[in-house]
């Protein structure tokens, strides 16, 4: 499309997403005003609740950790122009992997348990993404539809495992037993205490945050510094060109989905092992879907994903505070999430074309 060519690269990666997000926030503000609350007060309350104390920061960072994993998962797939809506199911299966590893292997120390859980979560998540990836690569089944179907199949499978296999006898609650105490991960409170920084003990933010940040670097390195990453991006730019250059579409599709699923599955290390210390039915709580918004907003770049995950971490913690102190329900955040997806993903051209026109006018005047 010609219109996009006329936008300088810096504006494409900063201005376009910022305008989209501003539009989403503006509509949300109108909605808050329409239900009889004060948008300005709401923003103040959200900022205060998520950044005003180490307690608030702790929850913001905990949510952001989840969203970094799922956002990276969606981004890697998007780079190969594969739309993986299955992050939710892959994270659920990752949770199952983490739970099996933690329950059935007697870990002597949390460091080993962490490594084991990462392998368990990543392998289960990757395998759950492998089937849709394989079906797309070998049978031509549309990956969007199969990953949606696999989300539902994952939910049923997890329900079966929790009710019929993992649930301790004599309990009603469909959840696994608690993991042994040796597997408990150090919280951010413990880590910061080592260097003498006081931090709230309450929020569930834990060492997985550092793993998530490391994954952002790892994904960046993979995509821009390795041969496979180059092939993934080339395949995403143009499938026929990539094939002409000797890149096998089937191989790239399957590899990309494996990496994507593994990243989604890793989320369970934070939520299942880091927070709940057991597997419950709704262990993912929509974080797989938020990954879509995070990836779109972050322009599929790991650094963008990091920033967008922080923004959504803030929205989730701030939204919980809003629901606590005002008449604004938590679901407002779902609306904001939907608007971010709509403007940055689907109505991209609506934002892009006027910006391109502005730049064209500026250039015409400069001449």
């Amino acid at each position: 499309m010609k219109a996009t060519d006329r936008i300088p690269h810096w504006a494409d990666v900063t201005l376009v997403p910022l305008v989209s997000v501003a539009l989403a926030f503006a509509i949300s503000a109108i909605l808050i005003w329409a239900i009889g609350e004060n948008p300005w007060e709401a923003v103040k309350l959200m900022v205060e609740g998520s950044f005003g104390s180490s307690y608030g920061w702790g929850y913001t960072l905990f949510y952001a950790t989840n969203f970094m994993f799922t956002g990276l998962a969606v981004s890697v797939a998007f780079q190969a122009r594969l739309f993986n809506i299955g992050g939710e199911g892959q994270a659920l299966l990752g949770g199952l992997g983490v739970a099996l590893v933690c329950l059935y292997i007697p870990w002597p120390h949390w460091t080993l348990a962490l490594i084991g859980a990462m392998v368990g979560g990543a392998v289960f998540g990757a395998l759950w993404a492998l089937i849709p990836g394989w079906l797309q690569a070998k049978r031509g089944s549309h990956i969007v539809i199969t990953t949606i179907m696999f989300n539902f199949i994952a939910a049923s499978l997890l329900g079966y495992m929790l009710v019929n296999v993992l649930r301790p006898q004599g309990t009603q609650d469909p959840s696994s037993p608690r993991f042994p105490p040796e597997t408990a991960l150090p919280s951010l409170h413990d880590i910061l205490a080592l260097v003498g920084i006081p931090f709230s003990r309450v929020p569930p933010v834990n060492i997985s945050l550092l793993i998530a940040v490391a994954m952002c670097f790892a994904v960046w390195y993979l995509l821009w510094r390795t041969r496979l990453g180059y092939q993934i991006r080339a395949f995403g730019e143009s499938e026929p060109a990539a094939e002409y250059a000797g890149i096998s579409p089937a191989r790239i599709t399957i590899y990309t989905m494996l990496i994507s699923g593994a990243l989604a599955g890793l989320m369970a290390v934070n939520s299942v092992l880091g927070e709940q210390q057991r597997l419950v039915l709704n262990a993912v709580e929509g974080a797989g879907f938020i990954g879509i918004a995070v990836a779109l907003m972050g322009r599929n770049h790991p650094f963008g994903v990091f920033l967008a995950a922080m923004l959504f971490g803030f929205l989730y913690q701030g939204g919980a505070e809003l629901a606590l102190w005002t008449g604004i329900p938590r679901e407002l955040i779902v609306v904001i999430q939907a608007l971010v997806i709509l403007f940055t993903g689907a109505l991209d051209n609506m934002v892009r074309i006027p910006i391109a026109r502005l730049f064209a006018q500026a250039r015409a005047r400069g001449r």
């Binding site: 009889g36 049978r139 179907m149 696999f150 199949i153 939907a338 709509l342 689907a346 051209n349």
Partner: protein
């Protein structure tokens, strides 16, 4: 399983298949015109809320149905603006619509009714009345025919019968009218339609709007016919089951009816039994819930006949200059 139980399960199969059928036909018409519609779930949810809210406020269920259609068509047009006018990603737009409906219905319901994101229970004129087919009472005691006619077919809300009438209507529209021919052509080869001087954009908007009306009916039946009021996330994945049924039926109306009846039957059985035994193998209820999705994946994989979507589905049409 005795006969009374069979009649009850089949009776509830028809009721559970109805919202699936409306939504499935909505997706079918939209995708036949070349527009992906994974926002069926969201449109149904928004319609379910509007139907229940307006039916409660006015005490008239038909006003509720009308507002459900308005809400659903409104969302369809938003999808149209994103997918057709601005040529955005149709799948992402659908995802956004699903979240938009999931969030907005609760925020608005909480604001209007303050009952934790639900509407008050409907009663009297706010609920969809049941229709008894003619001679249902007289035929009740006739063997075989009686249970089928009076027990299964009779005694549903009007929308159930409308849903099943929509099947031949959709077939006729798509395969026996000029509009239908053009609509299918626009889903296969929009450039050819454009060359013939027919508006691609207009046809696609038309298809998306028809889908909106059908999703409106699906949602309205869900909250005023199948249950008595709106609760958070009450569609519970039905939009995606409808999508699955559409693929299962390979985008054909009569087959769609078969698919939704099968999926409705599975849901009815899963609601009724915790586990069933088939040929000595115990089948857990979760397997029944997952079966529609598993079957769809198998069909998509082409192991049992290939499901080939309309050729132009998902690609925005860019006019050549």
């Amino acid at each position: 399983m005795d006969w009374i139980m069979v009649v009850q399960v089949l009776d509830s199969t028809l009721r559970l298949a109805t919202p699936l059928l409306f939504a499935c036909l909505a997706g079918l018409i939209s995708e036949r015109a070349g527009v992906f519609d994974i926002g069926l779930e969201g449109k149904m949810l928004a319609a379910a809320f509007m139907a229940a809210a307006i039916a409660y406020a006015t005490g008239n269920v038909w006003l509720g149905v009308a507002s459900a259609i308005v809400a659903s068509v409104g969302i369809s047009l938003l999808h149209g603006v994103a997918a057709i006018t601005f040529r955005g990603n149709q799948l992402i737009s659908g995802v956004a619509i699903n979240f938009l409906a999931a969030g907005l219905t609760v925020v608005i319901a909480q604001n209007w009714f303050s009952q934790g994101g639900r509407t008050p229970s409907l009663s009297g004129g706010g609920r969809m009345p049941r229709l008894d087919l003619p001679f249902a009472d007289a035929l009740r005691d006739v063997p075989v025919l009686g249970p089928i006619y009076s027990g299964i077919l009779s005694g549903h809300a009007l929308l159930v019968y409308i849903a099943f009438l929509c099947v031949p209507a959709t077939w006729f529209l798509l395969f026996r009218t000029r509009f239908g021919l053009r609509l299918r052509a626009v889903g296969e080869n929009p450039a050819a339609v454009d060359t013939a001087g027919i508006s691609v954009v207009g046809l696609r908007y038309g298809a998306v709007a028809i889908g909106g009306v059908l999703c409106g009916l699906a949602g309205a039946y869900l909250s005023t016919g199948l249950s008595a009021g709106f609760v958070q996330e009450m569609t519970a994945g039905r939009g995606f089951i409808a999508l699955a049924a559409m693929i299962f039926a390979k985008w054909r109306p009569w087959h769609a009816m078969g698919a939704v009846l099968l999926f409705g039957f599975l849901e009815a059985v899963a609601n009724r039994f915790q586990s069933i035994e088939i040929l000595g193998v115990g089948l857990p209820v979760q397997a029944m819930q997952a079966l529609p999705y598993i079957l769809t994946v198998v069909i998509l994989a082409g192991f049992v006949g290939k499901a080939i979507p309309p050729r132009a589905v998902g690609t925005p049409y860019v006019k050549e200059h």
